[in-house]
């Protein structure tokens, strides 16, 4: 029938359902854009304005940069930063890649146990890990030195973590699990037929690993190295705790020192911060370029293949020994030294005498101390609120980026990943400066920490949500629309339930990293808003090593329990963490 004859068009009029969509989408976009852009803009603005008295308009100048780069020490600072970052990333990469290859590609024994244990260091807060290594590797009281000196009857200093190599070593060890996870993913994605073809051509296992596996995973390997390098540049705990006492400064510790001197030199800190930001951004840009190019001539077929492990033959046991050594070093020793010191009245090197003075006093102190109880509550509240807020907001923005055809959705994608280039300390600095200038009443409250955490971990939420969003077939939503469901009904009843595994996994991950967070918190906390990692820092500064150890042990136990519960729960929900 001719449609022109009767024209009873149903006009689409705005009804509550559409207002709801506008509201939810609009609010989420605003939050993300505000969080991602404001600190960046303000930090840049601040860095080009000279330090003047409050209340006057600061003149635009490059004085801060001139100050920084005219200093005699700056050349050394840049060089030390690069040496530290290169050293740390190479150590992490070397260990992580070896472990990943063994774990993914060979028939080494006890693989499952190793996999579980080797990611434990990711749970240990950086500040605890570094302090544990101080107790192990300090020239005077370090257990390793004490033991070796007793063994060889000498006063030779075997290891000294208060040095650039020491810093790089400790930091590299702590982040080896990150390299391990990234390289495992790369090895897992590779078609084993490529290796088998090399084996069939008569190549040895070592030659296959070197000439085929590593070459094929080169884009992934280089991307991993860059990420480790940028992350090491941003590392705060090892440079501050190990480097500053030894007079070694890198960007992060220099920023911290500039703010913690009297009077605080915020302009200088900003200039350092912008320099660090520029290097980090360049590194991550390069990394994304490599990843994008790697994807084009990918070795990944995506077909359902079952990787066949390479037979190590008589090397199985030696390789297992390497594993055990690694686990002992990275998981065993630091945990044991913290455990030992947590049962002491005053810190003492382990000995028969010291065994007699074992005490539960530090635990009594930790459990009774009111500011520790408050810090625990603060940390839990922040972790829960941050993880919940991020996962909900990014589920909406990821929907816009992945599913909608809204204009500017790729810009939203770029904007929302800006926080990833912010070193924690620089982000803390930017947020501190901004809320000092723009007084909305959150400075010095938990809210400013909340803002910092949400900003800092936003990209993680996006990563988790967009991965699972991509896996949701477009037609699953379209069929809901054809069933008459509004956007909000579709989002709530179809999209969110389908996202659940990713939501849960991301939530747990963000909750854990929130509890560990130190480098932003250290600039933003105030009296009454300390968090656990800050309390550990303060205990260290006060020399309360045994109490610190007790708190650390409790924290590690609690976080490990959380991860275990999550894995259990995750098994049922189909969640995979990391």
């Amino acid at each position: 029938m001719p449609a022109a004859a009767t024209r009873t068009a149903v006009r689409s009029t705005p009804i509550p359902a559409e207002w709801l969509q506008g509201l939810v989408v609009g609010a989420s976009v605003l939050v993300v854009v505000y969080l991602a852009l404001v600190p960046l803009a303000f930090l840049l603005w601040q860095s080009v304005h000279a330090q003047v008295a409050a209340g006057t308009v600061a003149p635009l100048s490059l004085d801060n940069f001139r100050n920084v780069y005219a200093r005699t020490g700056t050349g050394r600072l840049v060089a030390d930063s690069l040496r530290f970052a290169i050293g740390s990333s190479l150590i992490a990469f070397g260990i992580g890649t070896l472990l990943a290859w063994t774990n993914e590609r060979t028939n080494a024994p006890f693989k499952r146990v190793f996999f579980a244990v080797s990611i434990v260091p990711l749970i240990i807060p950086g500040v605890l890990f570094v302090i544990a290594w101080m107790l192990l590797g300090s020239p005077k009281i370090g257990l390793i030195n004490v033991a070796l000196q007793a063994l060889f009857a000498t006063d030779f200093v075997f290891v000294n973590v208060y040095s650039l190599p020491g810093m790089a070593f400790v930091d590299g060890l702590h982040y080896a699990p990150l390299a391990f996870l990234m390289m495992s993913a790369a090895f897992r994605a590779m078609d084993p037929a490529l290796e088998e073809a090399a084996l069939m051509s008569g190549a040895s296992v070592a030659s296959v690993a070197w000439r085929i596996t590593l070459r094929l995973s080169w884009p992934a390997a280089f991307a991993t190295l860059l990420i480790l390098f940028v992350r090491a540049l941003e590392s705060f705990e090892a440079p501050a705790l190990l480097g500053l006492p030894a007079g070694i400064q890198v960007f992060t510790s220099a920023i911290y020192s500039a703010i913690h001197r009297y009077p605080a030199d915020i302009g200088l800190a900003s200039a350092y911060g912008v320099s660090l930001l520029a290097i980090a951004a360049a590194g991550l840009w390069l990394q994304s370029r490599i990843t994008a190019r790697g994807a084009r001539h990918a070795t990944v077929t995506g077909r359902g293949f079952r990787p066949r492990p390479i037979d190590l033959g008589r090397w199985r046991m030696p390789v297992a020994a390497i594993f055990v050594t690694y686990l002992l070093l990275i998981v065993g020793l630091p945990s044991l030294v913290l455990l030992w010191s947590s049962f002491q009245k005053f810190y003492a090197v382990p000995s028969l005498d010291a065994v007699r003075t074992l005490t539960l006093d530090p635990y009594r102190f930790v459990l009774a101390f009111p500011s520790i109880a408050r810090a625990t509550l603060n940390s839990i509240a922040l972790a829960v609120a941050t993880a919940t807020a991020i996962m909900l907001v990014t589920s909406v923005t990821c929907w816009i980026v992945v599913k909608s055809r809204a204009r500017g959705r790729s810009a939203l994608d770029v904007v929302s990943s800006i926080p990833i280039v912010f070193p924690g300390l620089v982000l803390g600095l930017a947020i501190m400066i901004f809320y000092l200038h723009v007084d909305v009443g959150i400075y010095g409250t938990l809210w400013i920490l909340f803002v910092a955490y949400v900003t800092r971990f936003l990209p993680y939420g996006i990563r988790y949500n967009s991965a699972s969003m991509l896996a949701i077939h477009r037609e699953l939503e379209e069929s809901a629309a054809m069933s008459g469901a509004s956007w909000w009904q579709t989002f709530r009843r179809i999209v969110l339930p389908l996202l659940r595994p990713g939501l849960v996994a991301g939530w747990i991950y963000i909750a854990i990293v929130s509890v560990r967070e130190l480098s932003s918190s250290i600039l933003l906390y105030g009296p009454g808003t300390e968090v656990l990692s800050v309390v550990i820092w303060e205990l260290w500064e006060n020399g309360q090593y045994v109490e610190l150890s007790a708190l650390g042990v409790l924290m590690i136990v609690a976080l490990s329990l959380l991860v275990m519960v999550a894995q259990r729960l995750g098994g049922r929900l189909g969640v995979r963490i990391a």
Partner: protein, 368 residues
């Protein structure tokens, strides 16, 4: 019932170039009829279906159902998909994995702003599940169903609202060959029983021929022929349709004479003089393409007499079980013929070819 007028759609591809997916499309579907859009991938058939569904917003044109305009570029009307009240079965079935069979089917009844009492929902869900023979698995997890069951579940979900229009996007393409054939019968039975107006999209010509009341063949975003399955197969309007629907032999030639008062003409072709049928007026001298279906090429070992007979040699043959495909050579020209398997002439041996004049269609060369 459904009326599509002057529909045009374009979209920007990955590199920002404008792609014209559908151009100036127009067709009507009568109430209760099964209409199929048939064409190769990328011809715009799915875009057209999605435009009718409201999942895609066309650039130009008008779509109306019964007397309701659901899309009109000129009047700025665009009713969103969730208010059109059509049922749709997707290529992937789009079964929601977090719901069981019952919940999947009940969703259209509880979504939107409908307020339907609980027991009525229950009754309607069970009734439609019964129609597609899934009533015994109502409480099962939707993901545990077999391919054929998922397909029927998707159909039940699309039918539960008793839609004015049912849209099907290659619903059988994910099934294996045997199941596909069974579901074809099932789908046809359901559609004829429920008399629901249906638009079906497929690239599979045998599906289109088996199911439809009417077929629209599409190419490069345009409809090139609309007609009943018999017309489409037996009287293709141009070489593209002849080639796409079924297998065919093409022979080039030029018209030498036209018999006045009838549509029979004589063509000088690659294989000599051929008497053929014209579906449109052609005059002497026109360049034509002759098309003959393989099953209309008759082979025999004894000599044939009359018009359209040739002597040929067997070039190649393929045994298919229910038939044999012969490739025979007439001069330099190869011709495909499908015959009963009892014919067993050896390769290289001579054979006689005969084609009934009404089985040779002369189509204007250069068309589509």
């Amino acid at each position: 019932m459904l009326s599509v007028r002057a529909l045009s759609t374009d979209y920007t591809d990955g590199r920002g170039a404008n792609v014209r997916a559908v151009q100036e499309l127009a067709f009507d579907v009568q109430p209760g009829k099964f209409f199929t859009l048939l064409g190769p991938s990328g011809c715009g058939k799915t875009t057209t279906l999605r435009s009718i569904a409201g999942l895609e917003r066309p650039r130009e044109g008008e779509i109306s159902v019964e007397s309701t305009v659901v899309f009109s570029a000129a009047y700025g009307v665009f009713v969103p998909a969730n208010r059109r009240g059509f049922g749709m079965v997707f290529q992937s079935y789009a079964i929601w994995p977090h719901m069981n069979v019952y919940q999947n089917v009940a969703f259209p009844l509880v979504a939107g702003r409908r307020r339907i009492p609980k027991d009525e929902i229950r009754a309607r869900v069970l009734r439609v599940l019964d129609t597609v023979a899934l009533d015994d698995v109502a409480t099962r997890d939707a993901t545990t169903l077999s391919g054929g069951q998922q397909q029927r579940l998707a159909l039940a979900r699309a039918l539960v609202l008793e839609p004015k229009l049912l849209l099907l996007d290659e619903p059988l393409s994910n099934l294996d060959a045997k199941l596909r054939e069974r579901m074809r019968f099932e789908l046809k039975r359901l559609q004829r029983e429920l008399r629901v107006t249906t638009v079906y999209v497929t690239h599979d010509q045998s599906e289109a021929l088996a199911l439809s009341h009417e077929i629209g063949v599409m190419k490069d975003g345009r409809l090139v022929q609309v007609g009943s399955p018999r017309t489409i197969y037996g009287r293709p309007a141009n070489p593209f349709v002849a080639d796409f629907v079924g297998t065919t032999n093409f022979i080039r030639g030029a018209v030498t004479s036209v018999q006045s008062g009838s549509s029979t003409l004589v063509v000088a072709s690659e294989i000599g003089s051929v008497t053929a049928l014209a579906t449109e007026p052609l005059h002497a001298g026109a360049d034509v393409v002759l098309t003959v279906r393989p099953e209309d090429v008759e082979l025999s070992e004894t000599a044939a007499l009359g018009v359209n007979t040739w002597r040929a040699t067997v070039d190649q043959k393929v045994f298919l079980g229910e038939a044999i495909d012969f490739r025979v050579r007439i001069g330099e020209r190869l011709l495909l013929a499908r015959t009963h398997p009892r014919l067993s002439t050896r390769i290289g041996h001579p054979i006689h070819v005969a084609i009934a004049p009404e089985k040779v269609l002369a189509l204007r060369a250069g068309d589509a």
